[in-house]
Subunit: 261 residues, 2 copies
Amino acid sequence: MKSALDPSDVGGYAELHAMPVWGMGEISPGDSIADLIVDALALGGLRLHAGDIVVVKHKMVSKAEGRMVDLDTVKPSAAAKRFAARNGSDARVTELALREARRVVRKQHVLITETAHGLVCANSGIDVSNVDGGKTAVLLPLDPDRSASRIMQKLKKRTTLHIPVIIADSFGRAWREGLHEVAIGVAGMLPIHDYRGQYDCYGYKMHSSEECVADELACVAGLVCGKRDAIPACIIRGYRYRRGNGSARRIVRPATKDLFR
Amino acid sequence: MKSALDPSDVGGYAELHAMPVWGMGEISPGDSIADLIVDALALGGLRLHAGDIVVVKHKMVSKAEGRMVDLDTVKPSAAAKRFAARNGSDARVTELALREARRVVRKQHVLITETAHGLVCANSGIDVSNVDGGKTAVLLPLDPDRSASRIMQKLKKRTTLHIPVIIADSFGRAWREGLHEVAIGVAGMLPIHDYRGQYDCYGYKMHSSEECVADELACVAGLVCGKRDAIPACIIRGYRYRRGNGSARRIVRPATKDLFR
């Protein structure tokens, strides 16, 4: 029987430690997320270690990149007004969501769209909470993989370390209640761990075992950062990621395989 | 402006630590998962602390409960044979999946069903990997909430501590590639953290913020236990859960709200 239990091969298996990054303060357009993280850690007497992963809530990235819209400047279309009136939502947010969508997936109770990034989520990922009390909407970063890559490069400059970066957002999902965090941007590690064709401990060849570790790492950030974005980032220590040119686009299921369009 | 940043109220915010439970050995029908965990920890000089959460991979629970079927005893129906022939799968597994399903959700490439528990997943959650090399299929526990509750009660007897228990399985999802862990059984804590109606740091009332912390905790187990079930459980320390009569049924979206049936 083929033995295949090689920890270096299968990832995980070690203790995992996740630390919220306190004290990053309010984020403004033009801010460097990497600098804010390194400086906030230093204030607490902490620093990044080799092997660490940084997870950043997307809203901070969007704010730093100026992806914000004053809702007073948004003129909702008739369609946006109808939907909003029917569902008790803000027509300006619906309007923005439709503008940011390349496809409407469902339009009952909630507006579920596919964004330009291929992400399927409510309202094209547009969020009004945790900004400024309801005057401004925050859009998703234009290219979250690139945002992650930029933060990673800056972290390398500051620390000389290779630190993978995941940008996380809270998404709903089909069939299950409650949001959970997912990775919408990834840099420096493979987002999906592919076990297919490998053998389990009993010599059985595994068929459908691709694990989205980037989403699981994003979920860790959900637990340590909370939902109110008072803590915009966390450090995950102890997870044996696989280094590579990761991209969150790899997590988006291609249309040909999508049974729930 | 209403300030609402009360850490005791919002959960999370602390460091989180997750430890794999090594050395539980092979699990057989009738085994007590709680005893195996406490004994395995003791062998490593470890013990459960107040505030810990235990996450157990469902397969260990199913094995302990004898939810196994010898595939040689399964006679596939004509429908199961047709589906399996078209998709290169094992007709006996398809047959079991159809028997365990209360509804077929999709039947292309993969068989996606709704189980008696209301869980929507591939093959009714039936798994052949990590058992005995392909001879035996493992079904989901009959009542994973009850299984979690039983393990919790036994842990209390052994340690006098209240330790919430989550039973986790790897599910695929719509629109996204790769499996991730979800909670199919929960005891001793609320699986969903409800922020609705609370205010963010800017005084904005949050509308659609229910967070499925049970699934996020299950994802932590995915990261520290790996996919080959060599490590059937993990301890999560530092997450401020909300105590309560939790149930994974709370996570199942009711049919009336389900847009992807």
